[in-house]
């Protein structure tokens, strides 16, 4: 027999009547970005994308890492890559982070960088949602659109979004 304990289900209205305990947590962090990502963020501020190259497998890792996870060794050098790539996947979001309805749909996806094959960046893509639904955006070439240099702070949001490269 499938043994199921008859736990007590509570409806949304009923929850207001039973005793519950309210608690407001306070948990904050100041993360060390580390050597690789610190430089990455610094270069974003300069309007450039930088990666780390592993001279054993010859891959360029973006976002950069101090170590090559495939070869298990320290990566060897810093390499700038163009802010252009190919759309690997894309979706249209109609909801916010905490599951509320978004004011307007937002397209996000993974952009595989031209100069760092196999390495993708996760970001917003400024494209008609129709292109996503019809899957025509897949494989298309896109380029980063940056904030003005005085507005950049060293954050992934220094890139506003990626947009289609007009051919």
């Amino acid at each position: 027999m499938t043994k199921v304990y008859k736990s007590i289900a509570v409806g949304v209205e009923e929850e207001k009547r039973i005793i519950t305990i309210y608690y407001k947590p306070y948990i904050r962090y100041e993360f060390s970005a580390g050597q690789a990502l610190s430089r990455y963020l610094q270069e974003l501020k300069n309007g450039r994308i930088i990666g780390r190259k592993c001279n054993k497998c010859n891959r360029i890792l973006v976002p950069p890492r101090l170590y090559c996870e495939q070869c298990f060794r320290m990566t060897d050098e810093w390499v700038y890559v163009r802010d252009e790539g190919i759309v690997n996947t894309a979706v249209v979001s109609y909801i916010t982070q905490d599951a509320r309805k978004a004011e307007r749909p937002e397209v996000v996806g993974v952009i595989e960088l031209i100069d760092a094959p196999g390495q993708g960046i996760f970001h917003r893509i400024n494209v008609d949602p129709k292109e996503v639904v019809e899957k025509t955006v897949f494989g298309k070439r896109v380029r980063a659109v940056w904030k003005k240099s005085e507005e950049r702070v060293g954050d992934v949001n220094d890139i506003l979004y990626f947009e289609l490269v007009k051919s």
Binding site: I8, I18, T20, Y22, K24, P25, Y26, I27
Partner: protein, 137 residues
């Protein structure tokens, strides 16, 4: 890295425990039919023998201070304007006990007998905060 806030359910038997504080001004303990233990804090299972528990029983309201400390820092590590005595209090024939404040006391002692002082019944909401503190007998 947490939610904005949490709303915890307290469990079916602990709810009865909190209601008896609210409605009767009484601290009750959970009673395990299987092993015969009375225990606090109240939960709907017996930690000791692993059986379901669904009964509360009245206990002697007189407690004994097992230990105490003068609390000077709050949960943020900030200095409290009004330090208070935190105590661990046990009750006769009851396993476990309760953490609470001591009041109306100058120099607490381990082994001191205390009893709970409740808020006015209309102010009680069904929480351990319905007990203002424990005071010496």
């Amino acid at each position: 890295m947490e939610a904005e806030s949490y709303l915890y359910t307290v469990g079916p038997l602990a709810e009865q425990f909190l209601l008896s504080i609210k409605n009767e001004g009484k601290i009750k303990a959970a009673y395990c039919k299987n092993c015969g233990r009375l225990f606090l804090p109240v939960r709907s299972f017996c930690t000791f023998c692993g059986k379901e528990v669904n009964e509360l029983r009245e206990i002697d309201q007189e407690g004994v201070v097992e230990s105490f400390s003068k609390v000077k820092l709050d949960s943020f590590g900030k200095e409290l304007k009004e330090p208070f005595y935190l105590a661990y209090i046990k009750f006769r024939n009851v396993e476990g006990g309760l953490l609470h404040k001591l009041g109306e006391v100058k120099e607490p002692k381990i082994g001191m007998k205390v009893k709970p002082v409740f808020k006015e019944s209309k102010e009680r909401i069904g929480s351990l905060e319905d007990i203002l503190y424990f005071r010496p007998i």
